[in-house]
C-alpha cells in the first residue's frame, strides 16, 4: 500500500465530495419546492409530492442508479458519464429526504408564530418568507448535515455503475495488490475522516447560528 495509492484514494475522495456537494445543493433547491408542494392545501400537489418522496425513499439507491444509468440513454437519448448519472440520482434522491426535512421543520414552528404573523397583516407567503422559513432553516440544519453524510456514504455505490471515485479506486487497487486489509483500511479511514469531520462542522455551524441569551 504505497503512498501513491493513498494519494490516488484521496483524489477519489475529493471527486466523491464534489459530486455529493453539487447533488445536495441541487437537492436542497428541488427539495424546497417539493416540500412546498407537500404542505400545500391543493390535494393534487400534495399527492404527487408524496409519491415522489416515497419512490425515492423506499427503494434502494443502487436500483435508482441502474435505472438512470440505463434509462437516460434509452429514454432521453442522453449519453452521459457515470459521474453525471450519480450526480443526478443524488440530487433527486436527496431532494426527497430534504423535502421531508423541510416539511418537518416548518411543521415544528409553533402555531403562535403563524397567528402573530397573520394578525400583523402578513400574507401567507410573506409569513413563510420572513417568519417561518428563517426559523425552519435553523431547525433543519442538523438533519441536513446528516443527509449530506448519508449521501457521501451512498456515493460509494456509484462505483458499481462505473463512477470512478474512491471506492472504485479501492476496488481496483485491491485487485492489483491483493492486500484487501490495507486498501480497505485506508479507504474506511478516509471516509471516516470525511464524514465525521462533516458532522463536527455541522455542529459548529449550528452553534454559530444559535441565538444566545446575553444574560447567561
Amino acid at each position: 500500500m504505497t503512498p501513491m495509492y493513498v494519494l490516488l484514494l484521496l483524489k477519489g475522495a475529493v471527486v466523491s465530495l464534489k459530486v455529493c456537494t453539487l447533488g445536495i445543493i441541487l437537492g436542497c433547491v428541488l427539495g424546497f419546492f417539493i416540500s412546498l408542494m407537500r404542505i400545500s392545501k391543493m390535494k393534487i400537489l400534495n399527492m404527487l409530492s408524496l409519491i415522489y418522496i416515497e419512490l425515492f425513499r423506499d427503494s434502494p439507491l443502487l436500483i435508482q442508479l441502474f435505472l438512470f444509468y440505463y434509462g437516460l440513454p434509452i429514454f432521453f437519448n442522453l449519453q452521459v458519464s457515470a459521474q453525471v448519472v450519480v450526480t443526478i440520482v443524488i440530487t433527486l434522491n436527496s431532494s426527497a429526504y430534504i423535502a421531508e426535512i423541510f416539511k418537518s421543520a416548518i411543521g415544528g414552528i409553533m402555531k403562535g408564530q403563524w397567528e402573530a404573523s397573520y394578525s400583523l397583516g402578513l400574507s401567507h407567503l410573506k409569513s413563510l418568507r420572513y417568519v417561518i422559513l428563517p426559523q425552519a432553516f435553523r431547525i433543519a440544519i442538523p438533519p441536513l448535515i446528516s443527509e449530506f453524510v448519508g449521501k457521501l456514504k451512498a456515493s460509494s455505490l456509484g462505483s458499481v455503475v462505473g463512477f470512478v471515485e474512491i471506492t472504485r479506486l479501492a476496488a481496483m487497487i485491491r485487485s492489483i495488490t491483493y492486500s484487501a486489509f490495507d486498501v480497505l483500511g485506508v479507504t474506511a479511514a478516509i471516509y471516516f475522516v470525511m464524514c465525521y469531520g462533516l458532522s463536527r462542522l455541522g455542529s459548529y455551524l449550528e452553534k454559530r447560528l444559535e441565538i444566545k441569551d446575553v444574560n447567561k
Binding site: M110, G112, Q113, E115, A116, S117, Y118, S119, L120, G121, L122, K126, Y130, V131, P134, Q135, R138, I211, K212, D213, V214, N215
Partner: protein, 249 residues
Amino acid sequence: MDMKSEAMIIIQCLQKWYGDLHVLKGIDVSINKGEVVVICGVSGSGKSTLIRCINGLETFQKGTITIDGISLDTNNRKSVREVRKRVGIVFQNFNLFPHLTAIENITLAPRQVKGLSKVEAEQRAIELLNQMGVSDKTKSYPISLSGGQKQRVAIARSLAMDPMIMLFDEPTSALDPEMIKEVLDAMISLTQKGMTMIVVTHEMGFAKSVANKVIFLDEGVILEEGTPQELFLNPKQERTKEFLRHILT
C-alpha cells in the same frame, strides 16, 4: 352637540362550535370608540375564543361581527385582511419572532405590509419602544428579554401597524408576578391615549381603574355586564359572585 361615539365593534348573536362543542352560544356586544372593555370568566368560558374571533383567528358559524363598518367573514380573505388592518392583538405567549431583534420584530410588518421604508419604520419603532419603556432593548433578541419586556415589545409590534382597536388575550397570565405591573402600566398608558381596547384578563385592579365596561362570560354566554363598579360591588348572578369570590381571594 352630538357626543355619541360610533360603535367600533358590533357583535350579534355570535355562535361557535369546535366540532360538537358549543363554545359560544349567542354573544351580543357593542363596543364604542375609545372604550376599554374587560372580559373575564373561568377557563373554558370562551373568552379567548371570542376575542380571537374578532380578528379572524377563529371562525364562527352563526352571527355577525362588524368592525368599523366592515362585516367579518372568515371565508372572505379580503374582509379578513381589512379587519386585521384595524385590529391588533397581543397574545398570552407573546409570540415574538425569535430570530429577529426587538426592533426588527416591530418593523417587519410596517415594511412588508405597509411598504414603509426601513428608516421610517425604525423611527416609529423607536418611538414605540420608548413609549413602552424598553428603549434599551432595541437590538436584543427575544431570548434575552424578560417576560415583561417581551410583552411590551409585543404591544409595540402591534401598535406599529396603527390599529384602531387592540385586543389583549390574557396578556399577563404567563408572566411572573413582578412583571405584571410593568405590562399593565403600559396598557393603562395606552388607554390614556384613547385606544379602543378589549382585554381578557383576571387582573381586576386593571379593570377597576380603566375599564368602561366589564363583561362576565360563562359557558359561552354573557352572564352579566356593566361598569366595574356595578359588576364588582353589586354582582347579580350567583356564578358571578362565585367567580369574584374565587379571584379576589
